[in-house]
């Protein structure tokens, strides 16, 4: 056991001494922030809807155009989140119900039996899914022109909400926590 811990220690030292670059900026996932960060935040995928939630940063001098763009992005994200949350919950519940039914009848839960369920679920969901598809396609296209304007704005303006510029300005996450 002592040999193992010595091995680990020397290995660890080896890694540090052979490092050719300084400690790189860490894109670590954080559970809570001690100071607010001047950048948009993206989250881990939601366990039910599988979509990644995004929190948009609101700069102090936000113009009405920027506000409109941010709010339309939030609307689209919410629309998708709502649909997939509902759809995936329905799937999981329906699947559990189907399996319970099978066990009641004393049948084994095989891949063939599940295929029957998958087909049934897909067919039942057809109208609901097509309505979502059409709405999503329309929304996606409708976001193109405002997205173009937002891209032009971000090119022109000095408001840079990315982490690298936040580090330069000194209010990125790591700068803040070390200074205070």
């Amino acid at each position: 056991m002592l040999r193992n811990s010595v091995k680990q220690f020397s290995l660890h030292n080896c890694k540090r001494t052979m490092a050719t670059s300084p400690l790189k900026k860490q894109n670590k996932w954080c559970e809570s922030l001690s100071k607010p960060v001047a950048a948009d935040m993206i989250g881990t995928p939601d366990p039910i809807s599988n979509l990644r939630p995004v929190k948009y940063y609101i700069p102090a001098n936000e113009t009405s155009e920027e506000k409109e763009w941010r709010e339309s992005c939030i609307k689209v994200d919410q629309f998708n989140e709502e649909f997939w949350h509902r759809n995936n919950t329905l799937f999981v519940n329906a699947k559990a119900e189907y399996e319970a039914q099978l066990k009641e009848k004393g049948e084994e839960v095989t891949a063939e039996a599940m295929s029957v369920f998958y087909k049934d679920f897909l067919n039942k969901a057809y109208d609901r899914q097509m309505e979502y598809n059409r709405t999503w396609w329309k929304m996606n296209v409708a976001q193109l022109y405002p997205g173009f304007k937002a891209a032009i704005r971000s090119l022109k303006s000095k408001n840079d909400n990315t982490l690298s510029s936040a580090q330069v300005k000194g209010n990125g996450f790591w700068e803040k926590s070390f200074e205070s």
């Binding site: 894109n27 996932w29 954080c30 559970e31 950048a39 948009d40 935040m41 993206i42 881990t44 995928p45 366990p47 039910i48 599988n50 979509l51 990644r52 995004v54 929190k55 997939w84 759809n87 995936n88 919950t89 799937f91 999981v92 519940n93 329906a94 559990a96 119900e97 399996e99 319970a100 039914q101 066990k103 839960v109 095989t110 891949a111 599940m114 295929s115 998958y118 087909k119 049934d120 679920f121 897909l122 039942k124 969901a125 057809y126 609901r128 899914q129 979502y132 598809n133 999503w136 396609w137 996606n140 976001q143 997205g147 937002a150 891209a151 990315t162 982490l163 690298s164 990125g172 996450f173």
Partner: protein, 359 residues
């Protein structure tokens, strides 16, 4: 009998069943964490996305969304265009160029390849732009560029349009208009026909197979500026290949497709899925034999291809078939190129016909 009534409702009124079926509960029910789940989980390896129960979920973690920096951009673009898949498709186009009869010109081959690659990149980028929320639902595609917001949707769309325009323009000016037209048609077919059809009807697999069959025809048209019977046979071979390739992939993903609302025959009609895959695997035999018949390859190719196609038929499981199909195609294309009839052979046959006419 009462339990089967939701199904009956589904048959009678497709719209009203939303309210009456037990598949649509009124209140949100948390997924059960009963021991039943643990017992039956070994049976469905098809469920690629395990849904964690509320007791396991530890909360969402956030990280700052730094926009992509310039040095990172090439890597992100490579992911956006699905570079590995695109590379294989470009190879089929190059194979079409190599097999077509006629003088081989290195610069024209280069322009054809670059132009085709640009067209493929365009199609793949726009497809990813359309399918942002759908890709997130499937484990295989969850970490794509737009899902993790490495690029904005506008950026991806713009990139797609630019590469498509550049690709078609390059083919039209440096190769020939026929190849450019085929490239443009392929982009349209992939983004505007195949992608929406995936959500609407199982016929999407056939439309998608056409998309796969066009690149070698583009390569051929780049050489001869026409679509000879040989080009059509080559396209048909690639078209037929798509079915065992895609159907075997789709078989293992049926749970994800069903959940995410993709209409694939592996979900709606598994037997059809297997039949279609077998049907087109068998069709590869006569298609490969017609290449020597049209004097594009020697008859040795008929023998070689029969062995290779039989190996594809021999694959027992879906996983075997999928990986088998990936190995099968490059080998088949290589054999075609090895057994291609040389120019002297073709000239001999023309001379023979001339002599006959004189007599």
């Amino acid at each position: 009998m009462l339990r089967s009534s939701p199904r009956l409702h589904g048959l009678i009124s497709k719209r009203n069943h939303v309210l009456k079926s037990t598949y649509f509960p009124i209140t949100y029910k948390t997924p059960t964490t009963s021991t039943a789940n643990i017992i039956i989980s070994p049976y469905y390896s098809t469920q690629a996305t395990p849904t964690p129960t509320p007791t396991e979920f530890k909360g969402t973690k956030y990280k700052p969304l730094n926009g992509v920096t310039l040095p990172e951009l090439p890597k992100v673009y490579k992911e956006l265009i699905k570079a590995k898949l695109g590379g294989l498709v470009a190879l089929t186009a190059m194979a079409g160029y190599a097999i077509a009869p006629g003088a081989m010109d290195v610069s024209s081959l280069l322009y054809t390849t670059v132009g085709t690659t640009l067209c493929i990149s365009s199609a793949n980028s726009i497809n990813q732009w359309i399918e942002i929320p759908y890709d997130a639902q499937m484990l295989r595609t969850r970490n794509r560029v737009l899902g993790r917001r490495a690029l904005s949707p506008f950026h991806a769309f713009n990139f797609g349009v630019l590469t498509g325009t550049a690709g078609v323009a390059m083919l039209a000016t440096m190769v020939n208009p026929l190849t450019a037209a085929l490239g443009a048609a392929n982009i349209f077919l992939y983004t505007a026909v195949y992608t929406p059809m995936k959500r609407a009807s199982i016929a999407n697999t056939w439309a998608g197979a056409v998309v796969g069959g066009i690149p070698p025809m583009m390569g051929w048209a780049a050489v001869t500026n026409s679509l000879d019977p040989g080009a059509w046979v080559l396209g048909a071979i690639l078209y037929a290949w798509q079915f065992p390739h895609f159907n075997s992939l789709a078989w293992n993903l049926r749970a994800d497709y069903s959940k995410a609302g993709y209409r694939m025959m592996s979900v709606t009609d598994p037997k059809l899925n297997a039949r279609v895959s077998l049907r087109y695997s068998l069709a590869m035999f006569p298609l490969c034999w017609s290449l020597p018949y049209l004097d594009i390859t020697s008859w040795t190719f008929a023998a070689d291809s029969t062995i290779i196609n039989a190996a594809l038929l021999n694959d027992k499981s879906a996983k075997q078939l999928f990986f088998g199909s990936i190995m099968h195609l490059p080998i088949l294309l290589a054999l075609m190129m090895i057994h291609k009839t040389s120019k002297s052979d073709q000239e001999d046959s023309y001379e023979f016909i001339e002599v006959e006419e004189e007599v």
